[in-house]
Symmetry: C2
Subunit: 154 residues, 2 copies
């Protein structure tokens, strides 16, 4: 699924929050105010955001929070599949398909820093097959492709 560059961003955040809320109710996990707020902040920047950027935003207008506060919330959100970590950037992005837990596969634009999450089954299948061909059982995978997006090439 491709993240569009222009859209109603507030609505987009709201949708993500509501989806998370609903999924947590189903799973009986706790979508606390802190976790909700961190997820909101991750979505608020429609690009990968670092943990310390989240920390700064979270600290605005109140006592500065400590790193574990942010990392624990992010850990929860990743565990639930609401957020993915981009290894090559040490940063985090909201997941475009939170209903199904999965490992994210990403395109990263080296010009504008936008990311596109690829939820393509075929790609996943090829990767899993490659693992088996090399004698490994498959657990999970990270795929991060760097390139230049359509917008930036024009």
């Amino acid at each position: 699924m491709v993240l569009k560059h222009k859209h109603d961003h507030d609505a987009c955040i709201e949708t993500a929050l509501e989806a998370a809320q609903k999924i947590c109710e189903e799973r009986e996990t706790r979508f606390t105010p802190l976790r909700r707020r961190v997820l909101e902040l991750v979505w608020s920047k429609h690009e990968p955001i670092t943990a310390y950027e989240v920390l700064d935003l979270l600290s605005e207008g109140q006592k500065r929070v400590a790193p574990p506060t942010v990392y624990r919330a992010l850990d929860f959100l990743i565990e639930e599949g609401f957020v993915h970590r981009i290894e090559s950037l040490n940063a985090f992005v909201g997941c475009s398909d939170p209903a199904h837990k999965h490992q994210g596969h990403f395109m990263i634009c080296t010009k504008c820093s936008n990311v596109t999450e690829m939820n393509e089954r075929s790609l996943h299948d090829v990767i899993e097959a490659a693992a088996k061909a090399n004698g490994y059982s498959y657990e999970n995978s990270i795929l991060e492709i760097a390139g230049i997006c359509e917008n930036c090439r024009n």
Copy 2:
């Protein structure tokens, strides 16, 4: 190409060093004693090794070197294609095919930490095709698959 678990490790290191030496002569880049030593240390642990582990080894029996010394050497080795960085581990491994510059695609065993570099053209092609299908030009990619290797499953 699969890294075997048991083999003549000294010979394996020696081969890698000689190959690097030769390639640097061809490219007229400088394979200095420091860079050679760092490459040797990376190969000496037949698993991903962190920059600070290299630093510790490099410092044995002499004044402790500073981080930039190690990182600059690693940057050179990566640039030349002698070493790959494993993003998900913040660690480095010797490249099994230094003659051809390429991005590494890896299997990582979550039990024994061994890595297998996959130099499969077909996998690369699929990834590049996925990039194009999403409207991106292709620059490079990281693929790191976690699983359990054949040895550890038995």
